[in-house]
Symmetry: C2
Subunit: 430 residues, 2 copies
């Protein structure tokens, strides 16, 4: 067989280690599928002494020198974070290398600039592993669905929060206990902020929305709410109406007389237990897609883990290597549609609101009036009396989010309302 294609590996943590191992184990198959063998030219790490598993002559701390080396064809980046990675990848493109990355934060912040640099150099940029780990999701969006119009992409794309919410539903525990359990079992990191507060999911939502709507969407365009305020009561209320609570990344094309826009948001929501996403438990990920012609699709699988993520990295590596062998670049990513981002305040959503109210005639009427005053139409109300107090559980129809949240604020100030016990958005109800 002919000269090997050479790969520079940037970073060698859990995913990088798995990539390195699989490149060895699968060498024959990869060579047959690509048409040329693949060889590792070097592995850039910060602390070479911490990587006894890597042959010493491959290790280097000079990442920039490695990615610009003449004998390197392809760069695999699994370091993560914005800098120095952005500079390294731009240098790699300029030196004519194709890049496979698993870096959601960087792609969500600066994807367009990276795509432009890759296109200018006539090389590839692929990043299947950046969203939903092993699930082949970005390539279907980039290519398989390229002949269709997407309406919505709704994903469970963060395993940590899905594990916590699944455990809250199973045990009746509150958020704090469930987080402690997740940390103990290794499903949550010591500092869980990126997962729990939705930053991780927001980066993935930006990437999904960019590809789905051919529009530049960055993490800053994504409305983001985490799950730390979710209570055992919220979860119980969800169960009462046949729902379960999930942290969703929702990317929607909002069709409007004045021109379409794109609404991208990450927040917890109640979804019916009959929805395909409701069955996605534990640390699994899934992405639900609604397209004009294709209808409803769902992609399901492992969202994290060294080997699973490495599978996505290696799939991309085969693609860019085949292109390199053929002397071409694959189809790039276009943002020709350039749809404006719609702020959350103007995005139509539905609310579930639980209230403790005084149990006396006329309270429901007063409460209902407050919804009407904000232009919010009520879908269902359930009233349960107990002593001199009563519980009202209200599910609204769809209305601009600002109107819904203003309604809740107004309810909090009403004398007849003793407390707002639960407020959560509702998705997927017909």
């Amino acid at each position: 067989m002919s000269t090997p294609l050479t790969v520079a590996l940037l970073g060698c943590g859990t995913v990088g280690g798995a990539v390195l191992r699989l490149l060895g184990e699968q060498a024959d198959d990869l060579a047959a599928r690509i048409g040329r063998p693949v060889e590792v030219a070097g592995v850039a790490v910060r602390r070479p002494d911490r990587h006894p598993e890597v042959p010493p002559h491959l290790l280097t701390t000079d990442a920039h020198g490695l990615v610009t080396r003449d004998d390197v064809d392809l760069v695999v980046e699994v370091i993560g974070g914005i800098e120095p990675v952005r500079s390294l990848l731009l240098a790699a493109f300029e030196a004519g290398k194709s890049v496979v990355s698993a870096n959601k934060a960087l792609l969500a912040e600066d994807g367009s600039a990276l795509h432009a640099a890759a296109a200018k150099a006539g090389v590839d940029l692929y990043y299947e592993a950046a969203v939903a780990g092993a699930i082949p999701m970005l390539r279907p969006l980039r290519e398989s669905l390229a002949g269709d119009q997407l309406r919505r992409v709704v994903g469970i794309v963060n395993g940590t929060t899905n594990y916590i919410l699944s455990r809250m539903a199973e045990t009746g525990h509150g958020f704090t206990e469930a987080l402690a359990e997740a940390t103990e079992l290794g499903y949550a990191e010591a500092d869980p902020t990126a997962d729990v507060d939705g930053f991780d999911a927001a980066a993935k939502a930006a990437i999904l929305a960019s590809l789905a709507f051919h529009t530049e969407v960055t993490a800053a365009d994504v409305h983001r709410e985490g799950i730390s305020a979710i209570t055992a009561t919220d979860v119980a209320r969800a169960a009462e109406i046949g729902c379960t609570v999930k942290l969703l990344a929702i990317c929607e094309r909002v069709v409007n007389g004045g021109g379409d826009s794109v609404a991208v948001r990450v927040h917890p929501a109640m979804i019916p237990t009959t929805h395909p996403l409701a069955a996605v438990g534990g640390a699994f990920n899934a992405v639900f897609v609604e397209a004009e012609a294709a209808g409803q699709l769902m992609f399901y699988g492992q969202g994290a883990g060294g080997d699973a993520t490495a599978s996505a990295v290696l799939g991309d590596l085969v693609a860019v290597a085949r292109n390199r062998v053929a002397g071409v670049a694959g189809p790039g990513v276009t943002t020709y549609a350039g749809l404006p981002a719609r702020p959350i305040a103007e995005t139509p959503t539905r609310y579930h609101v639980g209230l403790d109210v005084a149990d006396r005639p006329g309270v429901l009427a007063t409460v209902a009036q407050e919804f009407a005053r904000h232009g919010v139409s009520i879908a269902t109300v359930r009233q349960d009396g107990h002593g001199d107090a009563a519980t009202l559980v209200i599910v609204t129809h769809s209305a601009p989010d600002a109107a819904l949240s203003a309604t809740v604020d107004a309810l909090r100030d009403m004398p007849a309302v003793r407390g707002v016990t639960s407020v959560l958005r509702v998705e997927g109800l017909s």
Copy 2:
């Protein structure tokens, strides 16, 4: 914008009509995504007078003339069947045209020859619509999972049989009644043989196995059993052990000391209601994939319908058009692994067997002995007595299919066995 890419459309039934309509409706978006506009050069049909929806100057009965016309760049084939389509596509390749096809029968019979002809001409052959309709499934197998080793692909790939089996489970009806209902509602064709006897699923299984295992697998290599022998008793027995009956297309890599092989089969089977495929109801399709590194994945969506299938066709059309604009061909399909097909007799499976037996001491021992004599180990037995008769429900461990079926034959001849009331394979039980 530059000169249009021109498309020859072969066939204009439900799918072809939807393709034609969507090419018009989405013209601007397709042009932006491809980089050049797409124009229909002609539509080949058998009876032009039956297509008032097509502009008359585009209609032709000369399909061969159309696909070899100098001004045609791409061919979309939605006629179906083996001939004359094979000859037309070979002529198209020879004339340098890339092809998008939805033709499962042809791909399952002669995929390798077609791929070879496309590779020789340096053009593309894509056929996402041939398996599981709108679900982007083949491209993930061809490309996203190209860096992984696949173990199993298990699909519900025929909507008609899935509808019939779903209705049998819901209503308790037998096969004949459920088929009649499916025919009335348009879910089954007037001659349902291709669906009900598993021919359609077998063609799709051959295509999935070829891509999954980089091996030439044709429909003739696929063991095929349909659902017409499934009784209401089978469905009830399945429910008793927490299972549901599905027609499965199963593609497995069987690992063996003497060298790996590929076992591909289509047959009804009981699967646990907790299995992700169990929830795939009605006319939906889903494909479940187990890969070495990626773990478990599932792809879910609409398996048929004009618009859904057209979405897959148009996705492929964008891909081949982009390649045409770039002056390249995409990665081909390799069969380098060349794994032998394993006959069903030697393929490990598990059986569920229901027996009516005489209710007297020693019957269970005699029956158990018969299983042991064939080297089949029993996983669970349930015995229910009623009068002088009893029911035995046995689920085996995994054993070569021939041993299992020989056991059932022997049971039928045993004096203590009054009748074998139900025999079905079991999949996905741990």
